[in-house]
Amino acid sequence: MEEIWKKNQYEPILKSDKMQIEISKENIESQVELIEQDGNQYTFSVDGKMYDLNIVMVENGAYSIIHEGKSYNLETIPGDKPKKYTVNTILSTYEIELVDAASRYSRARQGDEDATNDKQIIAPMPGKIVSVMAVPGQEVKQGDTLVIVSAMKMESEYKAGTDGIVQEVLVKNDDTIDGGQIMIIIE
């Protein structure tokens, strides 16, 4: 009997698949290329280094990979944008981005946004607004506390990242907010 466990369980992905892949905060940028696929059995090249891998998605987002006999377990969590992933390995967690022309453009734009990041106060996690100390038009100094957010028995203060004028206040007391939501914009 042939080795059925290697048999195709997904449609093959194109032979020409080739992507630039980055790991944020690690300064790693690699060229990943699919060389061959036969069912679960893949050959990939990462910056020229060849990998023969048996890859199976065993639960949604949970992958079992066998590489040279070693059994790896990875979990992939799609990010808030397509082509962005959080990947959990046994030791660490990586933020991974698949880069193509389109995402290069959007990353370039986001680069611009990053520069203005200290002009926005963004909630890093869901919570509830306890107190807003800013009104539009108000002059603020870097370090001034502008909003207090409560989540899970803890209160956190959010301060102005720069001197400036409050342009917009997007939250009010008792609002429930999402992680990533912009609360205040300073000009």
């Binding site: 997904y10 690690e26 990943v32 065993v58």
Partner: protein, 502 residues
């Protein structure tokens, strides 16, 4: 006989209490806030009633609503769990007045132990060692200066009504005594409406060791040995174990007797905990008494072989304790890790959210007390604890190895958790050798917060798998199979991946 218990709590402790109720054939009644309709305690209970909006002040702390549900459902008793109303003297009395058994001590006991000066006085009268200090309000500057001089610096100024670190000031320098006193008093007044402040000797990086006690209504009091709770961050326990690596049989017996004396001095009934500060020379001082079940009670259950919730219920319905002091024998070693929804790499910031995927540790010597499930969203309103992982081993080494194994198996995606941080604790030499105190995390922070990295193969494979996943999702989206039998794709991948046709 208690036939129906209302559990005035949520999360893992509500489920834990209901489990014991179910084993005793007692019906359980859940109460829930807006945020908790899908919570496990609602699903687990025999009955469930909505009691109000998400903030706990309007639901889990609303005595009227809880009493109303208890009366409507004919519950004989209320179990308060820990936190919320568990140490509320008024609520204890309120239950009594309404003819409902409060599974916990009487109003008087809670009140006595809730006021720190009264508790200190009571302990001193019963001969239990307390931290050197005074029991009087430092109401004049002269008294304050004189008292501090007698005790010797450093000292801790403490609000008698205090809690949660409020109204506390550490004084290391003579020149700071009066300014610290003034700010402690004003903070205490603002926080508790009571400006009474007293002074204690400050003990640097002590051990935090507590004794579990059990007392019935017939005057029988026993202790169930100690728990070592010195692994703390921001005064929050993270890891607990029993026996304490510091403990000797002689000191255990002494402290245990004091713990029993402390409970007897207030005619305590039920399960409670006497907390001590212990220095490296094994000098110990009464710190406070918790008049309720503790989060970390399972490690005691495991080495002693007892179900503390069942004991609470039996005591509450007038039964005598099922054990005598001489029956209390610790077997092996137990460790508990608290799993929090938080980000250890970002100052332990809470990380609420939806549990996307959950793999729980199982097998020999592993107990898990949790309440979340796949698809559950951890609410932002309550404590970020997801679950407690408890292991047992024949000895401390085996318990540590088993905890490492269990943490390795534990996988939660969708939110950040303390699991990897706890794995690091289990690998820290000071923890492995058992030589640690409440300064543990600070002392070992370089090791504990060091980022671990995969080797280069593992990194490359991570990128490859992200690419495979992306392609697969892309394809799924294009070929989305809107099948009419309504299976709608969920878990279908399971079928696809594991079904090999030949």
């Amino acid at each position: 006989m208690i036939k129906k218990v209302l559990v005035a709590n949520r999360g893992e402790i509500a489920v834990r209490v209901m489990r014991s109720c179910r084993e005793m054939g007692i019906h359980s009644v859940a109460v829930f806030s807006d945020a908790d309709r899908s919570s496990m305690h609602v699903r687990y209970a025999n009955e469930a009633y909505h009691i109000g909006p998400s903030p706990s002040t309007e639901s889990y702390l609303d005595q009227n609503k809880i009493i109303e549900v208890a009366k409507k459902t004919g519950a004989d008793a209320i179990h308060p769990g820990y936190g919320f109303l568990s140490e509320n003297a008024t609520f204890s009395q309120r239950c009594k007045d309404e003819g409902i058994i409060f599974i916990g001590p009487d109003k008087e006991v809670i009140a006595t132990m809730g006021d720190k000066i009264t508790a200190r006085e009571t302990m001193i009268k019963s001969g239990v060692p307390v931290v050197p200090g005074t029991n009087t309000d430092l109401n004049t500057d002269e008294l304050a200066l004189k008292t501090v001089a007698e005790i010797g610096l450093p000292v801790m100024l403490k609000a008698s009504a205090g809690g949660g670190g409020k109204g506390m000031r550490l004084v290391k320098d003579e020149k700071d005594i009066l300014s610290s006193l003034r700010s402690a008093k004003s903070e205490a007044l603002a926080s508790f409406g009571d400006g009474t402040v007293y002074v204690e000797k400050f003990i640097a990086n002590p051990h935090h060791i507590e004794f579990q006690i059990l007392a019935d209504q017939h005057g029988n009091v026993i202790h169930l040995c100690e728990r070592e709770c010195s692994v703390q961050r921001r005064h929050q326990k993270v890891v607990e174990e029993t026996p304490s690596p510091l403990m000797t049989e002689k000191i255990r017996q002494e402290m245990g007797e004091y713990a029993v004396a402390a409970a007897k001095s207030v005619n305590y009934v039920g399960a409670g905990t006497i907390e001590f500060l212990v220095d490296n020379d094994l000098n110990y001082y009464f710190l406070e008494m918790n008049t309720r079940l503790q989060v970390e009670h399972p490690i005691t259950e495991r080495v002693i072989g007892i179900d503390l919730v069942k004991e609470q219920i039996r005591v509450a319905q007038g039964e005598k304790l099922s054990m005598k002091q001489e029956d209390v024998v610790q077997k092996g070693h137990a460790i508990e890790c608290r799993i929090y929804a938080e980000d250890p790499d970002n100052n332990f910031m809470p990380s609420p959210g939806v549990i996307k995927h959950l793999t729980e540790p199982l097998g020999l010597g592993v107990r898990q007390d949790g309440y979340v499930y796949e698809g559950f969203e951890i609410p932002i309103y309550y404590d970020p604890m997801i679950s407690k992982l408890i292991v047992w081993g024949n000895n401390r080494d085996e318990a540590i190895q088993r905890m490492r194994r269990a943490l390795y198996e534990y996988k939660i995606t969708g939110i950040k958790t303390s699991i990897k941080f706890l794995e690091k604790i289990m690998e820290t030499p000071d923890f492995i050798s058992g030589k640690y105190d409440t300064g543990f995390i600070e002392k070992n922070d370089t090791f504990l917060f060091e980022k671990r990295k995969c080797d280069s193969d593992c990194l490359d494979i991570s990128m490859i798998v992200a690419m495979v996943d992306y392609q697969k999702r892309l394809k799924n989206t294009l070929n989305q199979d809107v099948s009419s039998n309504g299976e709608s794709g969920w878990k279908k991948f399971g079928k696809k991946t594991s079904m090999n046709r030949f």
